[in-house]
Every structure is written in structure tokens, then in C-alpha cells.
């Protein structure tokens, strides 16, 4: 594989950039692999990469129904954070933060990681108390957290509404300075390129039609491009998890829901933090191109449509304008939707299943992007060693039977109610 560097850039400039190698190949599926990963999104690609890098398992195929990076890894609002209170979530995502910091070097691909900080706004004394508690929990787990008062928040984001007569006055906020954003497509492409270079087959336009299971063991997968044998198969398909689970006669604690996001027209730099509204569900950051990147509530009903409806968008942007009134002057450039695998406690599942050789990675709700490296790393470990790592031990499938739920938000089983 050609290494990307300033020298390769100069060299290729001399040939009008016409002689770059393809970033990854387009192979046909072989008859058999050691491991097959279903789903060529961020998590699937990262899993294959860490299988090859950490566990030296390179006879791996990623099979993807569409094209890699066409699902949620290309549809999210690129936020990376580890501001969780519960240990399982905090330690897992802080492990991920380390991988994010090293990612561009590690992948030899600029993922434009920008640790610009995230501020969760508080709009009442009670909320300040909750944030103080969460901040303390974070610091106990080695994650940076700063509790800001109203004046401190005003200094950082003066464009928010600090006038006296507002419905949800800003009391302060909780900031994680090391959180930030990254270029989401680059993450998918960077993992794909490195995985490919280590021998992983990335097979696109290949739909799974069924599984070969006998005597409680997985033997392979049937696809639109032929049958593929494998003793180990990892499911990494986010919003499509239930569709594949049905083919395996499994019913999972997951519902698929729709989440919309949108960007405004590009404007000059105005916001250098990720900011979330505390009195509803709205978050915003400014992309490198100058667009305001915004998102919020789920549409609120089961959906596989990858496109949303106006009422939710209207509701979300009303919150945005309440928080930052200048947004009302901006024109909307694009809106789009993605489908979320909403687990019943709001936390993910990375685990083995009752079928030997079948591994499950799902339930990311709307927090999957930031988890990409940690998810790939722990899922690769789980597949390679056939046992879960300490980091993902809390993300077990049977916690719903044993009662060890990881309900970070305290929402109960209807996580689609926001």
C-alpha cells in the first residue's frame, strides 16, 4: 500500500494526481473465510481492521449490502465524547477517546479529529446538580469534566440566548474539553484502506439472504453473491439488526427508529464547540466548511425509511432557535435521516450469542459514531478470543434477563420516547 505523506503528495502532483493507487480493492467473495463481518459501516470496518492488526486474523471478509460508509457512519453529526456517568459506558468510551487521538497516525489517514470540547447546557438548579454529579463521576474515571457557571458559558458561547426573558435560561453547563468531532467519511475510508491493505476483502453490493446454522453452530452465510463459509460471523448492521436477527430466529431487545439531522448553509466561523440544549434534545456544531450541523429527537416511531418527516425537524429546530436565536436567519442546506438500532436501555450490545461462532454488535441508539474505534477494538477481541473483553463485559445481551441494565439516561424500556 502506498503511504500517504507530503512526499507522496508532491510526487503525485507531478503526474497530475492520475497515478494514485485505489484506496481499496473490489474483490469477489471467496468460498471461505476465517471471519465474516456483516456490515461495511464504521463499526464493521473497524472490527476487521483490529482483527487484522491486533489479532493477526487477516482471512476476513466484510460484506455490505450497499456501499461502505453509506449508512450511519456517513449520516451522523460526527460528535465524539465520553461524558458518561456509568462506569461501563465511561471506561469504554474513554478507551475509545485514546484511539481517536491516535487514529490519524495509526491509519495514515487524516480523520480530522478536532477535540474542540462539548458543552451540555443546564437550564435549572436541579440540572446543574445532576451535571455536577455526572462531572464528578467522569473525573473519577479519568475523564476531563468542567462545570461551568452562566458567566463562564457566556464567555465561551456568547451567541447563545443569555437574555433575561427566556423560557429556558442558561444556568451553566458541563464541558468535556477533550470531546470533539471528526470527519465521519474519512473514518470509514481510513479503516477500509488499512484493513484492505492487510488482506481483508471488502465486498460491496452483497446482500445477506440467510445463514447456515447446524447443531447450534454457525457455518456460513448465504448472500446475493453466493454462499460463504465461515466458522465465525460478526453482525455489525445497526438499524438492520432486526432484519438479520429474524433470519436467525432471534428476537432482540431492539427497535429500529429514525433520526434526522440537518446542516445549514455555510457561514463564517462562529461556533468552536459542540453544544447541546439541556431542556430538550438538540445539538449543534460547526463543520470545517462552515455549515451548522444540527440534530435532535428521533421521529418517534419504528422506521426503516432513512428519511424523516417535517414535524420532528420543526420541533428540533424550534429548540435550536430557542438556544441560539441567530439560527433563525440561516437557510437549511440539507436534511437527511438514518435508522437507529434503539436498545431497550439505551446502551449497546457487544456479545456472543447462543449460536456458537455468531457475535453481535448492535444497540448503539444514536451514539454509534463516537464508539467506532472502541466498538471495533472490543468486537474484534470478542470474536478473536471467543470471549468478551472487560471493556465490553457490561454490554452483554443477557443483561436484559438478569436485570443489569445500563440505563444511562434513566428512560426505561421506551428509549424512543425522548
Amino acid at each position: 500500500m502506498q503511504k500517504y505523506s507530503v512526499f507522496s503528495l508532491i510526487k503525485n502532483a507531478l503526474s497530475n494526481h492520475e497515478k494514485w493507487d485505489l484506496a481499496w480493492k473490489d474483490p469477489s467473495p471467496k468460498n471461505e473465510y476465517d471471519v465474516v463481518i456483516i456490515g461495511g459501516g464504521g463499526h464493521g470496518l473497524a472490527t476487521a481492521y483490529y482483527l487484522a492488526k491486533e489479532h493477526k486474523i487477516t482471512n476476513v471478509a466484510i460484506i455490505e449490502k450497499g456501499w461502505i460508509g453509506g449508512g450511519n457512519v456517513g449520516r451522523n453529526t460526527t460528535i465524539i465524547r465520553s461524558n458518561y456517568m456509568h462506569d461501563d459506558n465511561a471506561l469504554f468510551s474513554e478507551f475509545g477517546m485514546d484511539l481517536w487521538r491516535k487514529m490519524s497516525q495509526d491509519l495514515n489517514y487524516n480523520v480530522m479529529f478536532s477535540p474542540r470540547g462539548i458543552i451540555n447546557l443546564a437550564h435549572s438548579d436541579a440540572q446543574m446538580n445532576v451535571y455536577a454529579r455526572r462531572g464528578n463521576s467522569m473525573r473519577l474515571n479519568g475523564i476531563d469534566a468542567v462545570l461551568l457557571n452562566r458567566e463562564q458559558v457566556k464567555e465561551i458561547i456568547p451567541m447563545a440566548d443569555f437574555s433575561e426573558n427566556v423560557r429556558f435560561p442558561i444556568f451553566g453547563g458541563l464541558m468535556q474539553p477533550s470531546a470533539g468531532t471528526a470527519r465521519h467519511d474519512a473514518v470509514a475510508w481510513g479503516y477500509a484502506r488499512q484493513a484492505d491493505s492487510m488482506g481483508v476483502d471488502i465486498i460491496q453490493n452483497c446482500e445477506v439472504t440467510g445463514f447456515d446454522v447446524s447443531a447450534g453452530k454457525i457455518n456460513g452465510v448465504r448472500t446475493s453473491r453466493g454462499n460463504i463459509k465461515a466458522k465465525k460471523i460478526g453482525l455489525c448492521v445497526a438499524g438492520s439488526t432486526n432484519i438479520l436477527a429474524e433470519k436467525l430466529n432471534m428476537t432482540l431487545p431492539i427497535e429500529t427508529h429514525l433520526l434526522q439531522a440537518c446542516v445549514s448553509e455555510p457561514v463564517k466561523p462562529v461556533l468552536d464547540k459542540v453544544v447541546t440544549f439541556g431542556a430538550g434534545h438538540f445539538y449543534i456544531s460547526q463543520s470545517d466548511k462552515g455549515e451548522m450541523v444540527m440534530g435532535g429527537d428521533l421521529d418517534g416511531y419504528n422506521s426503516y425509511a432513512q428519511r424523516g418527516n417535517l414535524p420532528t425537524l420543526q420541533h428540533v429546530l424550534t429548540e435550536g432557535i430557542a438556544m441560539m436565536p441567530f439560527l433563525s436567519k440561516l437557510k437549511m442546506l440539507r436534511t437527511w435521516g438514518g435508522i437507529m438500532d434503539m436498545s431497550m436501555d439505551g446502551s449497546p450490545i457487544i456479545d456472543k450469542t447462543h449460536i456458537e461462532g455468531l457475535y453481535l454488535n448492535c444497540g448503539w441508539c444514536y451514539g454509534g459514531f463516537k464508539a467506532t474505534p472502541a466498538s471495533g477494538w472490543t468486537f474484534a477481541h470478542t470474536i478473536a478470543q471467543d470471549r468478551v473483553h472487560d471493556l465490553n463485559a457490561g454490554y452483554s445481551l443477557n443483561r436484559f434477563n438478569t436485570g443489569h441494565l445500563l440505563d444511562e439516561k434513566g428512560l426505561g424500556t421506551k428509549t424512543w420516547i425522548s
Binding site: 432486526n242 432484519i243 431487545p253 419504528n302 434477563n401 424512543w416
Partner: protein, 89 residues
């Protein structure tokens, strides 16, 4: 925007409704001994079908009745609506 035909009030906009989840889920009978598995299936496990899906909605800003709606989760097309006490055929 979805338009849902409330079996009581007629065609109304999605804004007036709130969603109540899969309508095919049945609560285990009260007072009956059931296994943990049956209870988990009721509380947590969902088929989350792609395609035709019977679901509960409440006409919150209208007559406040719960209704059943058959909707395609891939296209958002609505085929049929029933009163809460009417059986899905």
C-alpha cells in the same frame, strides 16, 4: 408528514398523535405463573418488522383515544386503522 385516520375523528395530521409501540405485544395474563423468558419477551424483545407493522398510537391532541395503525415501516404508507378494542384480523 404522516396523515393518520383516527377511527373516531377522521383524517388528522401526525402532529396530533403520539406513538405507543408494537401493537402485537401482549402482556402476560395477570396472576398467571410465567417464566422469566416470557416476561422478558413482553418487556424487552421486539420483532421491529420491516414492512407492515401493527402499532399503537394515541390521538393525544384530539379525542385522546388509543388506536391501532397498520403502517409500512419502510415506506410509511398507512393501510388501516382500528379502534383499540377492535381485533387485528
Amino acid at each position: 408528514m404522516l396523515h393518520i385516520k383516527c377511527p373516531h375523528c377522521g383524517m388528522r395530521s401526525q402532529n396530533e398523535f403520539s406513538y405507543g409501540g408494537d401493537a402485537s405485544v401482549k402482556r402476560p395474563e395477570l396472576g398467571k405463573d410465567i417464566s422469566n423468558e416470557e416476561w422478558d419477551n413482553y418487556v424487552y424483545n421486539r420483532k421491529s418488522l420491516r414492512g407492515k407493522h401493527w402499532e399503537l398510537w394515541q390521538h393525544l391532541s384530539g379525542c385522546r383515544q388509543w388506536i391501532k395503525v397498520e403502517r409500512d415501516t419502510a415506506t410509511h404508507e398507512i393501510f388501516k386503522t382500528l379502534k383499540a378494542n377492535e381485533e387485528i384480523s
